[in-house]
């Protein structure tokens, strides 16, 4: 059982998705418990795998028992483990959260299929994270993408249909680019297993350097679309705004960051640190500029939004900049900050979207004025929101501060102090739009009747508070994520 856990973590949600799709027609009400159990298993299993990765270094599993270059290996090191645990735990909390929201937002006949799609979505992202085979990664990337198009389009407003379509077009172009890149990689090295490619790449670089460069270019651009890096982010605000609240929560907390993980994996494991630093320093500089621009432009757009979902979507555009910046700097401290941000951003954005979902459930619209008086009528929800907002801004004792501290350290160590200004400006702008929310939550005119009149149902409250508590835990007990993240960063960079 323990040995085949890597396979089970992916297979169990997939099997649950099939079962909900099959039986959901007759036993509609059992879809939620099945989804909850499956994601709980995935969460527990992925934490166990992370535990093993921390102690053993690398957890390896061979699909169908085939040896590595022939078959598909599942390979989990610290970086995988972190992202895997993030995806699985967020999925579990989201499914826990979404019961009431789905009842309200999805038509009754579609609810079972909705849970099936959510489970497949989870399967896709778990698969991207866990696999050690580049083509398998592409297949899971497409599973995850197709399910997210469907999730976006399942919203109640017709704008969701078109947002889903636009996401589909851009997402498919991105995935196709990744596929082309993988093709060039296969052409240059003749292998698909990540470690195998890495071993053969130095030879390929001597024989066909241009093929390898083309491959890197295609994969980088493809994944940049998938992770909504600044100039390529146009699909994201529409998709997050018009998706059902539960889908927004799930996607905002996982989707783009898993694409960012795939970029880490390709850049540092497959192509190798030496390749990106010695052969392509300008490219990494370019990515750094994009990340820095994203950090400022995302919040800049977010400040002007009155629709909370759209505001948080633009905020995500900014936050992915933090995740990518660490990779672009190729520095252990900065990368520690970025890898820790996988967890910190999942916690804070998860909490914020959970709160917005509660506001939508209780008041019917995600307009910012519906937050008025939330602090009086729903103190627990408001507290979670406050902690998450502080973490997003980067106040000490919250997770966001840890990220920004290590990123700042990294910029200074690499002699790029200018970036510090970008980090500070980004935090300032984040503080502005988060203050717009918090001011309405706590300091609204007491004469106005609040749009949200009572607390959320307990399932929602538990999940929201867990997200909020995670923001605090990662800030107060900062050594837990930082130790793992810095070990992962040093392993990626080949420093020990």
């Amino acid at each position: 059982m323990d040995a085949s856990l890597p396979a089970l973590v992916v297979v169990v949600p997939m099997l649950a998705a099939i079962l909900t799709a099959l039986a959901g027609r007759w036993w509609r009400r059992h879809a939620w418990p099945v989804a909850l159990l499956a994601t709980a298993f995935a969460a527990a299993g992925s934490l166990r795998i992370l535990w093993r990765a921390v102690h053993e270094g690398v957890v390896l599993y061979r699909m169908g028992g085939w040896p590595v270059p022939t078959g598909i290996p599942y390979r989990i090191d610290l970086l995988n483990g972190i992202v895997l645990a993030m995806v699985a735990c967020v999925s579990f909390l989201s499914v826990l959260w979404m019961r009431e929201s789905v009842k309200r937002e999805i038509r009754q006949a579609g609810q079972a299929s909705y849970y099936a799609v959510v489970l497949l979505f989870t399967t896709g992202f778990l698969g991207i994270t866990i696999t050690g085979d580049v083509f398998n990664l592409y297949v899971f990337l497409e599973i995850a993408s197709i399910t997210s198009y469907v999730l976006v389009a399942m919203g109640r407003r017709r704008e969701g249909l078109f947002a889903g379509y636009q996401y589909l077009i851009l997402g498919s172009i991105g995935a196709t680019f990744v596929l082309i890149g993988i093709g060039h990689l296969y052409m240059a090295t003749g292998s698909l297993a990540m470690t195998d490619i890495a071993a053969r790449l130095s030879g390929a670089l001597v024989d066909h350097p241009s093929v390898v460069h083309t491959s890197f270019a295609f994969i980088t651009v493809g994944l940049a679309i998938k992770m909504a890096l600044f100039p390529l982010h146009s699909w994201q605000p529409g998709a997050y705004t018009y998706a059902p609240s539960s889908a927004s929560l799930l996607m905002a907390a996982t989707a783009t960051k898993v694409a960012a993980y795939a970029f880490y994996r390709f850049a540092f494991t497959v192509f190798g640190t030496h390749y990106v630093t010695a052969r392509l320093p300008q490219v990494m500089d370019g990515i750094m500029v994009m990340a820095a621009a994203a950090m400022v432009v995302g919040p800049l757009f977010a400040v002007r939004q009155d629709n909370l979902k759209r505001m948080l979507a633009y905020s995500s555009v900014g936050q992915i900049g933090y995740v990518v910046l660490g990779a672009a700097l190729v520095n252990a401290s900065a990368m520690t900050g970025s890898i820790a941000h996988f967890w910190n951003h999942a916690a804070s954005k998860g909490a914020l979207f959970a709160v917005v979902g509660i506001v939508v459930l209780r008041s019917g619209s995600p307009h910012i004025d519906n937050l008025r008086g939330l602090g009086r009528r729903a103190p627990w929800t408001a507290a979670a929101m406050t902690v998450a907002a502080l973490s997003l801004v980067g106040v000490p004792l919250t997770g966001g501060f840890v990220t920004k501290y290590y990123l700042a350290l990294g910029t200074l160590e690499t002699g790029r102090g200018v970036l510090l200004a970008f980090i500070l400006l980004s935090s300032l702008l984040t503080a502005v739009y988060m203050w717009r929310c918090l001011q309405r939550v706590w300091f609204a005119d007491p004469d106005l009747e609040p749009a949200v009149t009572r607390e959320a149902p307990w399932t929602m409250r538990v999940a929201t508070l867990t997200f909020g508590a995670a923001c605090l835990v990662f800030g107060v007990f900062a050594w837990i994520p930082v130790d793992i993240a810095s070990a992962a960063a040093r392993a990626l960079l080949g420093e020990n």
């Binding site: 083509f135 592409y138 197709i146 469907v150 249909l161 078109f162 379509y165 589909l168 172009i173």
Partner: protein, 133 residues
Amino acid sequence: MLEFLLSHYNYAIYIALMMIGLYAILARGNLVKKIIGLNILQTAVFLFYISIGKVDRGTVPVIWPAGERPPGFENVPYENPLPHVLMLTAIVVGVSVTAVALALIVRIKAAYGTVEEDEILEADELRDREGDA
């Protein structure tokens, strides 16, 4: 230069197809035509993969039982079957994406009454303005 192009014509074709596909996606306002462009783009990738699996004078990658190799096939190399298998998967993925896209278009047509991008955007803008008022 010409010799290089002639010996690498498969790449030229795949790049041309890719550009046609991307152009169709970007320049066409009709949602269905965009999907056709996407399919052309994907087909370009299939062609690319299959062409890199081609071995000069290669034969079918079939393991013959010992001593049963047909005459003329004793010492020939065989084609690399792996890219074909990968493309089988990619084709299935492409079909799924197309299916989802067409399903979305059917719903869009029902909701907006049109499949032209500019008309949809116009309708959305109109509704936004009415919502503000």
